[in-house]
């Protein structure tokens, strides 16, 4: 993914990015909860060109029985891309990438839910990427966290996803599609903003220790901003601003 060669100049002479952003600037983000009435909780996020929906079902009896844990709930996140979400039509169904992402997202969400309150149950978190524009996993985990909160699942914190990376030799926040395709590194993270704990961390590319720590700090700072949007979205929902659930 990273490191495809290209003649595209990703940072201009003024230090601005291809979409006009500063290196440490997020793309526009919109959030909403209560978008899937059938679910116990749900959320929708637009993050740059990403359009992602998440819904939560449970806690409900885990099936088949052999997956049950006697002392806790299991969290099963399923990250899925719609066939039309990417440039070239994607064959429906899980591929190896989505299996891996589902696994790390499941693990990251488990770190924040009080799973011990719901033994033998499953909490299913479904993330549907309707349109993809780089950073789907961090946008998806952010939506999933909102959906969990909207479902009233007890959590010790929200989870906020955010990525940083490197393009044209510059450490930048929140890569868009061109930057992801032609950049030098991507570091997707998910953090628990109250404590700063890191629940999801992946990286691929080519970074020095300094670049990597810069990128991580940039992502963690931005996550705190996104956290405020999450809180505001949930508050509005409970006030009934834009949701009738």
């Amino acid at each position: 993914m990273m490191g495809m060669k290209s003649d595209i100049k990703l940072i201009d002479d003024n230090g601005l990015r291809i979409d006009g952003r500063l290196p440490n600037q997020l793309r526009p983000i919109k959030m909403e909860v209560g978008v899937v009435k059938r679910a116990n909780g749900s959320a929708y996020i637009e993050w740059g060109g990403n359009k992602i929906m998440a819904a939560v079902y449970g806690p409900r009896e885990a099936y088949p029985k052999h997956v049950q844990e006697s002392d806790r709930a299991i969290i099963r996140a399923r990250y899925n891309m719609a066939a039309f979400s990417v440039d070239e039509r994607k064959r429906p169904g899980p591929d190896r990438r989505s299996v891996e992402l589902s696994k790390v997202i499941s693990e990251a969400l488990t770190s924040v839910v009080f799973v011990e309150k719901f033994p033998r149950t499953a909490i299913d978190v479904y993330i549907e990427v309707l349109q993809a524009d780089a950073g789907t996993r961090v946008a998806g985990i952010t939506a999933a966290s909102l959906a969990l909160a909207h479902a009233g699942i007890p959590m010790r914190d929200l989870v906020v996803g955010c990525a940083a990376g490197k393009v044209d030799g510059v450490v930048v926040l929140d890569l868009n599609k061109e930057e992801d395709n032609f950049g030098e590194a991507d570091v997707p993270m998910a953090i628990l903003p109250r404590t700063g704990e890191i629940a999801l961390l992946q990286m691929d590319g080519d970074l020095t220790y300094e670049e990597l720590t810069n990128a991580m700090e940039m992502a963690m700072d931005a996550a705190r901003e996104i956290y405020k949007m999450e809180i505001e979205t949930l508050k509005s929902a409970y006030r009934g601003d834009d949701d009738d659930n």
Partner: protein
């Protein structure tokens, strides 16, 4: 699986209540027997698709994305484009949907929508030839169900038609000429009815679906032709009932068609 999808467990009391309402000529959500739930259509929702429509039929929500790519024609139709349909009943949309390969419900849904479009010759496939016998346009119609509250046949059929009507053939992206609007001949609209006791209601919601004993979908075109029918569930219809349903589907279909063609809420942002 069959029984879980369309029956569910609705308390006997709800069943009686719905039948009692029907005696009085009304329905659990206050609609008339031929009244379709409010339809909202948002086309152009997915920029990465060549056509798309987010459709709400009451609380039922379906997103259809159309992708158009060059491919090889079938050997027996060298001078025609290809269309293919797929429905994803993703588990996000209902507690009764499960991950995995398409269920028989998803396959039936996709095939009924497919037949309506295909048999009415809705898409002018003969205009989708790039090089005869070698290269034609393949139209992928992917229906992604996002919230399931009954009557997916109509929601998917409406969204597919709206997305096709929104679609541009991306000839420039593949360097085979100029982009052009996907050529449409016809606008087939499915209307689905549920038989509840003695009554037959259009556009059943989830509660109605869960107690219905028979279902009939009739897809009709703007010329008043019938292009597809599909009866479902464990009950039966009399011939008189079927004839009435076909007539009702023609008039309801006409109204829905006007909304698809004229009443789209327009492109998003």
């Amino acid at each position: 699986m069959t029984t879980k999808f369309s029956e569910g467990v609705v308390a006997e009391s709800k069943r009686n209540y719905i039948k009692k309402l029907a005696l009085q000529g009304t329905r659990i959500d206050g609609r008339g027997f031929d009244e379709v739930r409010p339809i909202k259509i948002k086309t152009g929702f997915i920029k990465r698709a060549d056509g798309s429509a987010l459709v709400e039929l009451g609380d039922t929500k379906v997103l259809v994305g159309v992708k158009i790519e060059p491919g090889e024609p079938f050997p027996d139709t060298p001078n025609m484009g290809i269309m293919t349909t797929n429905v994803e009943l993703v588990p996000l949309a209902s507690p009764t949907f499960e991950p995995g390969p398409p269920s028989e419900e998803a396959i039936e849904l996709a095939r009924v929508v497919d037949r309506g479009i295909r048999e009415s010759h809705a898409i002018d496939l003969e205009k989708l030839v790039i090089e005869e016998g070698e290269k034609v346009w393949v139209v992928f119609i992917d229906m992604h169900v996002l919230d399931y509250h009954g009557n997916l046949f109509d929601a998917c059929g409406i969204a597919a038609l709206a997305a096709l009507n929104d679609a541009i053939v991306p000839a420039e992206r593949f360097e085979v000429g100029e982009d052009f609007k996907l050529p449409m001949n016809h606008y087939p609209v499915p209307v689905t009815f549920a038989k509840i006791g003695e009554w037959i209601v259009a556009d059943p919601n989830l509660d109605e679906e869960s107690i219905a004993k028979a279902r009939l979908t009739v897809t009709t075109s703007e010329e008043g032709k019938i292009n597809a029918m599909q009866k479902g569930l464990y009950g039966t219809f009399t011939y008189e009932e079927v004839k009435k349903v076909i007539n009702r589907s023609l008039s309801i279909g006409q109204k829905v068609r006007e909304q698809i063609l004229g009443g789209a809420d327009g492109e998003e942002n």
